[in-house]
Symmetry: C2
Subunit: 427 residues, 2 copies
Amino acid sequence: MAVKLGLVGTGTVGGGCIEILKNHKQAFLRHYGIDVELVRVCSRNPEQAIEHGVEDIFTQDYTDIVNDPEIDIVIELIGGTTVARNVVLESLKAGKNVVTANKALMATYGEEVMAAAADAGKEIAFEASVGGGIPIIDPMKHSLIANRIDTVMGIVNGTTNYMLTRMAEDDMPYDEVLAEAQAKGFAEADPTADVDGLDAAAKIAILASIAFNSRVTIDDVYAEGIRNITPLDLEIAKDMGYCVKLLAHAHRTEEGIDVRVHPTMLPLDHQLSTVNGVFNAIFVVGDAVGETMFFGEGAGSGPAASAVMGDVLEVARHIQMGIPPIVGCTCTDAIPIVPMENLKTKYYIRFAVADRSGVLAAMAGVFADHNVSVHSVIQRGKKDAGTVDLTYVTHTAREKSVRAVLADIAKLDDVLREEPSVIRVED
Amino acid sequence: MAVKLGLVGTGTVGGGCIEILKNHKQAFLRHYGIDVELVRVCSRNPEQAIEHGVEDIFTQDYTDIVNDPEIDIVIELIGGTTVARNVVLESLKAGKNVVTANKALMATYGEEVMAAAADAGKEIAFEASVGGGIPIIDPMKHSLIANRIDTVMGIVNGTTNYMLTRMAEDDMPYDEVLAEAQAKGFAEADPTADVDGLDAAAKIAILASIAFNSRVTIDDVYAEGIRNITPLDLEIAKDMGYCVKLLAHAHRTEEGIDVRVHPTMLPLDHQLSTVNGVFNAIFVVGDAVGETMFFGEGAGSGPAASAVMGDVLEVARHIQMGIPPIVGCTCTDAIPIVPMENLKTKYYIRFAVADRSGVLAAMAGVFADHNVSVHSVIQRGKKDAGTVDLTYVTHTAREKSVRAVLADIAKLDDVLREEPSVIRVED
C-alpha cells in the first residue's frame, strides 16, 4: 500500500515536488520499491493548485492534512516560523513524519522540533533547508560521522554570491547589482534576509549543530552582510590574490564554536573561490577525511525539490519497512559559542583618509596601541584630490582589538573621508 | 552489547580504520549511541599488527574471522578479486555484514556480491571503493534518488590527476612526472592500473550502475590512459581555453549508457577543471537537482578510512536497532552499453606532418570523405625544420568516423612525422 503524502505549500519548491512525483512515481517503485502517493495539497493559493493539476486534492486549511489519519508524511514548504511551526509540531503530535525545507524554523526551533519528533517516534528530515539540492545534511549525519569535524565553511546564499560575482566581474556597484538581481528574480523585493546574511546565518546554525554535536541557533550566529562591499575592494582583493565571498563559517576552536557570517577574503586557489553566480558550496574539513566540498544549485524549484523528495523517499522507505527513525537529534554536547569580539582572524581594512603628513604615522600608532600587528599596508591616491586610500592587512588579531583600532582611528581629527571597509581574511 | 568488527587487511586503509577506532570509539557511543569493538584483525603482515598495537587480536588466517560467530561486520581491505572475493562471499554466507573498499571486486563481481548479500539478508557497503573519503555512493543511493541522473563525470584517480597537473603547470614530460609521482609514493612501481585508466574504469562502472539502475561492469568500460599526453598538447589546450583531465564518463543517451575513461579536454570554467593535484571530484547531473559536484581527497589512509568507518558505523547502527538492509542492489533495468565506435563527441587531433604543399588539402579531403566536420584548424611550425603541427578540433562526430580519418591520414604518403595526439573534447 502506498505511503500517503500531504503537501503544505505550493510555491516554487512545492510545485517542483509535484512535478517530480508526476514524472518519476513509477521509477521510484520500479527501482527502489518505494510507493508514494500525494493525497492532499494545502495552499493559500488555489491558482497554484490548478496550475499543478492538483485541484481535486486541494484544501486551504492545513488541519485537513494534519487531521487526515491516512497521511503518513507531511511536507512543509510554506516557510517562516509561525504557521509553519504549527504545521510541523501538530503533524508530529498527530503521529506523522515530517519533511521540511524550512531553515528559519530549524535554526530557531530546531531543539523543540527534534524533541517533538523523538516524543512522537517519528522522523523529521530537512535536507532542503541548507544548500538547495546539494546533499549535505545527510552526508554529515551518515557518511562523515567517523570524523571529528573541525570546519564547515559555506557559500550558502545564491543571491549574494550572484551579486558579488557580478560586482567583481563587471565592476558594478552594489545598488545596481541588487536592482538587476531583483529584476531577474534572484533577489526578493525586500532583500534583507539575503544581503544582511540572515539566511546564511540560519543555514550555518543548522550545519554547525550537526557538525559539532552541539545546538547552535540563529541567535548564536554573528551576521554581517554585503551592503558595504564596493567594487574597489573586490578589485584590490583580486590584485592581492583573493576573492570576496559572503561566507558562513563554523570552526571548532579551543575556546568553543566560532560561528559567523560575513564577507570573507578567500585565496583565489581555495576550492570555494571557484564557486560563482547562484551556485552554492559547502566545504567540510574532518580529521580523517581532510578537505571535502559539496557543490550545486542552492535554490530554485528543481534543486530544492530534489532534496525534499529525497527525504520523502527515504522516510517512505522506512515506513514501508516498518523501521523506526534512524538518526534523531545528535546534539549531545554543549559547547560554548565564542563571542564575536574574541574572534581571532586576519583583517583587510581600507581607509580613505586626508592626504596630510603624519596621518600614516598616527594610524600606525593606533594599530600599535592595540597590539594589532600589520602585515602590509598599501597607499594609493584617489580620484578626489586630497584623499588617499590606505589598505591594511593585519596579522591574526582579536576582533575586539581591531574594533578598538577602528574606534580610535575614527577619532583622529578630520582624517577619515568615508567609513572604512573591513573584510575578514581566511587563509 | 558492542557490535563486533573483524578487519581483514592492515595496510594504509586498515591502519587508518584502527586509528579512527582508537581516537573516536567513545565519541561514537556518546554522539550516536553506536558501540563498536574491533575483536579480530587479519593480515599477512604481523609487523603491521604490532605497529598498530593489535597483536593480541591478530591472525594470519582470514577464516578465523569468517568462522568467528561473535563477529557482526567483516571489513575487507586487502583488495583484488581473488582472496578478497572469497573473504567477502564467505563472510556473507556465514551471516556477516561486509564493508569493503574494493573497487575491482565491486566492478567485476558486483552482481554476485550483491546477490550473496541479498540471499544472506545482510548488508554490503562500499562507499570507499570510489573517491576515497568523498561521500558519493551514499548520496546517490539516498539523497539524489528523486532524480533521473543523466551524467556522472569524475576525476576519480588521484595519481593521474597529480601527473597531469604537474605536466600542465611545470611543463614536465610524462616519464619525468611518473618518476616523481613514484618517488613521492603517489604512483606504484607498476603504474598500469592508474596511468592506463583501469582504476578509473572500475570506479565509473560502480557509479554508472547506481546512477542508471543498470549493471555496468569494468569490462563494459572503454579505458584509455594518459601515456600519450604531452606537455605540448596541454599547452595548446590551455591556449584554447581548456584543461586536460583523465575523466571517467557515464552518460545516459538515447542509444544506451555511454561509459568510458580517457583524457578529456574540459573548458577551464567547468567546475571539474579546478580540481588539481591528488584531489578527486565527481560531477553528477540530475533532471531535478541540476549540476552537483562532490570533491575531496581520493586516496590515502585518513580519507579512505573515513569512508570505510562511515559504512561500518551505519551498518552497526542498523544491527543495534535490528533493522534489515535498507538498500540492496538497485540494478532493476538492463540498459545497453553504447559501443565505443558509436560515441558522438568532439575531438582534438594534433598531427605533426611534413611541411609540404598539398598536405593540408589532402588531409582536409580525408576529413570530408568521412563526414567529419572540422570546427577549427591551427597550423604552427615546429622546431624540427620541415615539420609543422596541424591541430584540428572537430564538430561532434562519431568515434568510428574519426578512427577512419586517422587510418586514412596514416596512409598518406610520407606525411606523418609522429603518432597523432587525439583527445576527446567535452563542452
